[in-house]
């Protein structure tokens, strides 16, 4: 697989480390009264879709940026690559 890095251009997926579903960006608030349940769901439950999947890849052998890659789990086709910090900011996080 080739990941089209937003800053570096097309790179071999072997340069990256895979973490998992990009929902891991949305860490629950520890002060929430339901924090126990929310952290359980955050830490352990996954949608695991067959089709488009947003996921976190880390460019360990490159510029060490975190990316959000949209990839089809049925065909491995990558349709979108963004910097994870841009995604996090667009979801209301400060960094």
């Amino acid at each position: 697989m080739i990941i089209n890095h937003p800053l570096l251009g097309p790179r071999d997926a072997a340069e990256f480390v895979y973490l998992g579903d990009a929902s891991l960006i949305d860490r629950p608030d520890w002060e929430d009264p339901d924090a126990d349940d929310k952290f359980y769901e955050y830490g352990y439950l996954r949608d695991n879709p067959a089709g488009a999947h947003q996921e976190l890849w880390y460019h360990e052998q490159g510029d060490r940026s975190w990316l959000v890659v949209t990839r089809n789990t049925l065909s491995h086709e990558i349709t979108n690559v963004e910097l994870a910090r841009d995604v996090a900011k667009s979801r209301g996080r400060d960094r």
Binding site: Y44, L45, N48, H53, H76
Partner: protein, 416 residues
């Protein structure tokens, strides 16, 4: 029809014209007591033990493709019970004991071959860890044997003992481990279940699970609705897709694992050998091909094929322990989809929906578990209490903090 040497002889004399189809192809009935989704190894074993051990036969096994078309038909056929943790080891030892009697039990030649499995170690620290694992195996009634370098030099002279980076210092044997003819396992269980009245319905895809007032009522399929009091999901690899029909999210990611087989060679490997410093395992099939594999690719996938970096990694693992493998030509490689769970261990449990049961999360260790998985799932379905060896394999264990994490990797499925 029972098989025997006499029958083979007689059929040989009469042109082999007397053999009959091994299972029926029934039309689905409108209602069953129990529907099992998935006619793979585990689903067929579940149906077999439900019928044989628990006397329940009003059962349908629904299969989207043909029976045995999933991971039972694409694994590396290894059986063993060399686990460590209390929630796992008794279960896998139970499974190995079932393997040992399986062929007599279902009167079918599954080519169970206890040719041993050897886990190599490459350092003092790793030997200590293996001694500990061997002792944990003894506690569950399994067998284990520590072999030093001198013994292995005699038995397996082709290993790269003096490898500069990962010298072979010895290994932990489980002599009762080995290999089984994987397709025959599915066929044997299918035949045994079918002959006891279980309907195995192929080309029947489940498209929905009917739930009313928190209780399961049946399933929707590509061949019409079928009612049932109990529905048993048994589709490891596709668990996420099927559970989603019941609105469930699971502690599972689907990943692709590749496997490889070389051209046929003269006998060179006496048993199963695994690399201790990387992920590589190899055995030789009775046809002569070297059957081997390594790590999962590491990203979510439902495509039954992988990518080249893992092919390279597996080849490097093979070259590191037995350089002679470099002379063998690769015949085929393929991929299968694994339910990778959050702690590397499986689930055999009820769900929050009355009458809906779940079996999955086998990571890439499902084949060896086939008999015990079927037996324990049948026990749960028939009696509504878990089998004594499967009490820890609960869906809610992460919420309770009772993980079964053999590798101690935490909640990252692609590291298990």
């Amino acid at each position: 029809m029972r098989y025997s040497a006499f029958k083979v002889f007689m059929q040989g004399l009469t042109g082999n014209k007397g053999w009959k189809p091994v299972w029926r192809e029934p039309e689905p009935k409108p209602e069953y007591d129990i529907i099992i989704i998935g006619a793979g190894g585990h689903g067929l074993a579940t149906a077999y033990y439900l019928a044989k051990e628990f006397g329940l036969t009003n059962i349908a096994v629904l299969e989207k493709g043909w029976l045995g078309s999933g991971n039972i038909g694409r694994n590396t056929t290894i059986i063993r019970s060399n686990y460590m943790l209390p929630g796992n080891e008794p279960f896998y030892e139970f499974s190995l004991k079932l393997w040992e009697d399986l062929e007599q039990d279902f009167n079918y030649n599954a080519m169970v071959s206890q040719r041993s499995i050897l886990n190599l170690f490459h350092s003092d620290a790793q030997r200590d860890a293996f001694v500990r694992r061997g002792n944990a195996m003894f506690l569950a009634g399994a067998d284990a044997e520590l072999a030093d370098e001198a013994q292995l030099r005699r038995e397996l002279p082709f290993l790269d003992f003096d490898n500069a980076r990962f010298p072979v210092k010895g290994g932990l044997y489980q002599r009762r481990g080995g290999t089984v003819r994987h397709d025959a396992v599915a066929w044997g269980y299918a035949r045994g279940a079918d002959s006891r009245g279980v309907d195995i319905i192929q080309n029947c895809e489940v498209t929905g699970i009917d739930v009313e007032n928190g209780a399961v009522r049946g399933v929707q399929t590509s061949r019409g609705p079928i009612r049932a009091r109990k529905v048993a999901i048994c589709v490891a690899g596709s668990s996420g897709r099927v559970a989603a029909m019941a609105g469930m999210r699971l502690p599972i990611e689907s990943h692709v694992l590749q496997a490889f087989v070389s051209e046929g060679l003269k006998p060179v490997l006496p048993g199963v050998i695994t690399f201790g410093a990387g992920h590589f395992y190899v055995s030789q099939s009775d046809k002569g091909g070297l059957v081997f594999g390594g790590d999962i690719d590491g990203y979510n996938s439902y495509a039954q094929r992988g990518n080249l970096p893992v092919v390279e990694d597996v080849a490097e693992g093979g070259m590191a322990i037995m350089p002679m493998i470099g002379r063998a030509r690769l015949l085929r490689s393929w991929g299968g989809i694994m339910d990778m769970s959050m702690d590397g261990s499986p689930f055999i449990d009820k769900t929050h929906i009355d009458g809906l049961y779940f079996n999955g999360g086998w990571c890439y260790g499902g084949f060896k578990a086939t008999p015990a998985s079927g037996y324990c799932y049948a026990h749960l379905l028939a009696r509504d209490v878990p089998h004594p060896t499967a009490t820890e394999m609960r869906l809610d264990r992460f919420k309770r903090g009772h993980l079964i994490d053999e590798k101690g990797q935490g909640n990252q499925p692609n590291l298990h």
